[in-house]
Structure formats: C-alpha cells, structure tokens
Symmetry: C2
Subunit: 212 residues, 2 copies
Amino acid sequence: MSNKINSISKPALNRFPDYLNYLNLMKNKGLIQISSTMIAEHLKLNPIKVRKDLELTGAIGKPRSGFLIEELIMKITDLLGYNNSSEAVLVGVGQLGKTLLSYEQFADYGLSIVVAFDKQEALWNTEVKGKKVLPMEKCKDLINRMKIHIGIITVTADDAQEVCDLMVDSGILAIWNFAPVHLTVPEHILVQNENMAASLALLSKRLKERIQ
Amino acid sequence: MSNKINSISKPALNRFPDYLNYLNLMKNKGLIQISSTMIAEHLKLNPIKVRKDLELTGAIGKPRSGFLIEELIMKITDLLGYNNSSEAVLVGVGQLGKTLLSYEQFADYGLSIVVAFDKQEALWNTEVKGKKVLPMEKCKDLINRMKIHIGIITVTADDAQEVCDLMVDSGILAIWNFAPVHLTVPEHILVQNENMAASLALLSKRLKERIQ
C-alpha cells in the first residue's frame, strides 16, 4: 500500500482527499455514477489530470457513464490507506518491544510492525529485525504520512499516557497497550490491554482449583 | 516455601509422603483426629521423630486428642509444595524468554519464575534479572525437587513438543505455551496457549470493522 502511494506525485496525492469529499457528497445525494469530467468541473481542475489521477486508483470507468461512485470511494480510501488496518507502529524499544519487533508470527495474519520509536538516543537509527528505530519527534509525521492506525505501547507505565496521547494526536485509532496502566483516550479510539501477568495468574488459578 | 523445605533433613522429608498416605487413608475411614503416637505406631517409626516432623508443618496438636487430620494433610501438602501454584520455570531464554524473566508485574499477582533452562551452552549459569539459566539436563531434577507445577514454553515451534514432554515428565501440571504449535499432553495437564499474533489480529479486526 505504501509502495503504491509512494509512486504518486505529491500534488496528485493532495487532490485525492478533495475527490473523496466530493464523491461522498454526491453519493449522499443519491448519485450512483460520475464522470471524471464532472469531478474536474466541480473542483475546477484539468480534466486530463483528474482522469489520470483516477486511473491510479485502479477503478475502471465506462466510456459514457463514468465511474461507480461507491467503487471509486472504496478505491481512493484504499489508496490513501485510510482503511489500513494491517500496519502498526511500536513505541518503546525495550526488552518487550524488541520481542514484538522480532515476532515472526504477525506475518501469518498479514500484520506487520513497520517502524518503531524510542526516546533513547542510543537506539535511534538502529534496527531490530530490519525495522528502524526512530526518535519520538518523527512519530507524528511518519504515522500521519504512512496512514498507520495501530499503535503498540511497550513503554513503562509512567510514559504510557504521554505516548498514547501522541499516538491519538497522530491519527492512531487502535492501541495495543502492554503498559500496566489504564489509558485515557477519546471515545473513538480502540484500546486493547495486554496483561501478561494476568494471563499467568489465570493459569495459576486454574491449576490451584485443580490441585487444592 | 522452598526455603522452609530446605531446612528439613532429607530423611525427614522422605517420611512426609508416608504420613500423607496414611492420613488420607484415615481421613477416608472417617477419622477426624489423630495422635503422632498412632501415626508412629502404624508406620513403625520413632514417636519422638514423628512428633518433631509434624511440628515442622506448623500444625498444632492438642495434648490428648492430637491433630485434626484435615489440617495436618493441608499443612503437609503445603510443606511439600504439592499445591505450589505460584512458582514457574521457563524453558527457552530467547528474546521472549528474557522479556518474561524480566517482567516485573508477575509479582503483583504473587507469581514468580524461579529458574530458566536453555539448550544453548553460552547461556548456562548466566542470569536474567537474578534468575539463573541452567542446562536442560537439570530441568527434571530441579522441577521435581522444587515441586514446581507451572512451566512456560518460549522455545521455537520445532522444540516445543519435546520441551513439553520433558516438563510433563518432571511433574509440571500447567503449561503456558508461547510456541506457535499445538501441544499434545496427557489429559490431566492444563495448557494455555498465548498467541500474540492472534491478539494483534483481533485488534486489527475490530479496527477494520470500524473503519471500512
């Protein structure tokens, strides 16, 4: 996904959100199909540019009737990575962070941690299993630019809320939290807490019930 | 628990399972109380030795009526660590193994990983957060002697079943399995599989349902 988007010029990329807005508007008005000419007219753009842009999405327009609006919206959303639910970033490259960065089974589910961040300068620009560790300052821009929506928190309890806030601010929508702390997030953010101690405690409890 | 047991002489320690067998027998016959003399007579032991042994359990016998059988059984079981459900061993000191050995939150639940094993010689007698890493050869004897019942498997999928078999053979009753493989165990063994990829996949799925 990010490869595809990298091959598109920046000016073109900037036009896509406008297309998306307009298409959603037309869809809500009940329109089913739309031509690139109509879009170009409305957005006051060169129709050839618009046609070329829309070709990049992979949507196929018919000579007379143009594009199916619903399909075009889906293709643009896909292109922009707005529905990217398979890539994640990780913040906190300690023991646990490194374990997750090295964890090969994510690929079995089509998931990947694409980049990691840490506040420790000594770790900057190092790699863990081919994944770059970058300074926190790069976090917001990169998450935004790569349209990543899953954030993994493997920092200490003390730092977790601050990292969480930064993630939310960067466009993260789902947080996998390993820090032993309750995170406060806006309503639209998904949080999944991973408490390994509780997992072991559960097994211990089941064992206890059996042997006592 | 293991400290307490270490202060007891080996011959004394060997008598406790006999006490336990006899006490369970008497309990099943409906007996409520028993004297150390009666136990000594039945097991053909020196009554003073038996009284001293039973004192070690912390159970309190009354001058005439002796010990409450149920309490004595509980105290001996406790002493022998038969109901030890708070200590665990770990096999496989890779990235994940080290993370778990370093994980401080287990203590919040009264749980601890007391020792680790690995097949790599380079790791033998090293320590991770104060926990010794020992060769696999020591596994069975140590688990047995320390009456540990929880085993954590953090080896590769290839080695997991072999490690599992060794654990079961050593007296492990509950296995926390991080290897991405289905373990075959006897019916009385509890297995809890930890699949971190599935956890992330779940979060990804929830996110997908929301944004698509």
